[in-house]
Symmetry: C2
Subunit: 306 residues, 2 copies
Amino acid sequence: MTAAPAPFRRVAVIGLGLLGGSVARAARSRIAGVHVTGYDASAEVRARAAAIDLADTIAQRAQEAVAQAELVVFCVPVGAMAAAAAAVAPYLPAGCIVSDVGSSKASVLQALGEALPNHTIVPAHPVAGTEQSGPDAGFATLFDRRWCILTPPEAVDGQAVARVTAFWEALGARVELMDAAHHDLVLAVTSHLPHLIAYTIVGTASDLEDVTQSEVIKFSAGGFRDFTRIAASDPTMWRDVFLSNRDAVLQMLQVFTEDLAELQKAIRKGDGPALFDHFTRTRAIRRSIIELGQDDARPDFGRSDH
Amino acid sequence: MTAAPAPFRRVAVIGLGLLGGSVARAARSRIAGVHVTGYDASAEVRARAAAIDLADTIAQRAQEAVAQAELVVFCVPVGAMAAAAAAVAPYLPAGCIVSDVGSSKASVLQALGEALPNHTIVPAHPVAGTEQSGPDAGFATLFDRRWCILTPPEAVDGQAVARVTAFWEALGARVELMDAAHHDLVLAVTSHLPHLIAYTIVGTASDLEDVTQSEVIKFSAGGFRDFTRIAASDPTMWRDVFLSNRDAVLQMLQVFTEDLAELQKAIRKGDGPALFDHFTRTRAIRRSIIELGQDDARPDFGRSDH
């Protein structure tokens, strides 16, 4: 097997948190001859990124980061996309392709399009992450076998989409194309609503009258601790996700609330068969996820060593 | 360090699923000289348990399992406790101590007390488990460093509580004493409500009009897949938990629903600061859980190898 030609030789990564750091590390380790320039609005993050050799060059100003870029990947919270794009707009080379890693896509596409009307934009959402954040959190294998959804506008240049596809595939991801609005609906279910619910229940549990916080922490192994992991995700990122994908999240939340009310009623009425039927159906979904390689089949994610 | 004397020399385990299998395996590997007899109402499970050497003896009838027992541990779903206890009641030796591993305690204490009025009952709830079930799911280290909550009635013999404590400590657990009603409230938050919510959202996601089930499965890595693990837990066990701990679950569900409505309102109104504040508070809980050794600090539970 011979290596494919590098889809981009010079890549600028704007924003050096978990995602930006992982893009930079993955690109450098997987794409031969690529030069990755990194930039972050925080001087502290830039210094840390330089210290841990996150990119070939850490630029001290956004304009330096993009000066020679063939691809710019915005890895900032979705609410910061417009400002990050505006900051580099005057310095972006002609022909430079623009992408991002935002978790909501319709609003990001609009923000990037308004700030950079003369550039080809191929928004991307790698469906991967951990609960950790900051430049030290990134790692080269984050995207391996994970899906990356591209949501290019209809009129976009097919060649640009092919190059961005090749870039994400080089980073280890599997690429899927989708309409931005549909993406936002799908991710509202598979990611945004789960995060909202985890954030809610962790808040609920930490603020009860009859049960102390230390009891909650002590006995969290019964299921609660998994929610705390999700609810430890970056607050800025998630605030922006909920604000930018508001309609889809509220729509899914409504369906969830109705379903919860139905189970609540079954519990109140002591309707065992209804509960049993529901709990049996949900097992099948888990099996499919493991079969498709989206999770680890070891019990408890292999937490218990046996 | 010299080994403590075995708290019980003959132990009967009634019900050979994940918990019963783990109790049997842990007792045999951790308590020198103990003899464990296992029994399950299902002939298929008994045959499998014998094939994988789950206990020193697999009894073919419940009465044989308990004939010489000093400790009987009921490891059946909480809704089956009364029947399981009634089945062995005539054969239980005088002085035999009775325990269980049920996830709700007030109802179990009542059921066991009614079926076995002449025996000392020390109910137990080891807060440990995986999403898997059946005799093959058990393993000897399941209880290591996990909490086991004992909820003895007030008038119980202190010596019996000490022996049951020693038994669970020998199995690797840390023991805590608690009033049964308070246990049910604590576990409603840390375990039962999280399971109910996970079961709900997995059901919601698998039954949408605008998003296909294959999309949900494909893009589950964004957070949803953690819920599917919880929602793959044993349906019979969980039906019984919700029916037997109904009041505490409904009480906690009400608080959760109010909190969810508050976050929903913040999203609808675009109240970024309120969302940010909430998402910041929930991070602290995660840190405490990791500090107390109740979870693994590796990102994503160490799912991603890096």
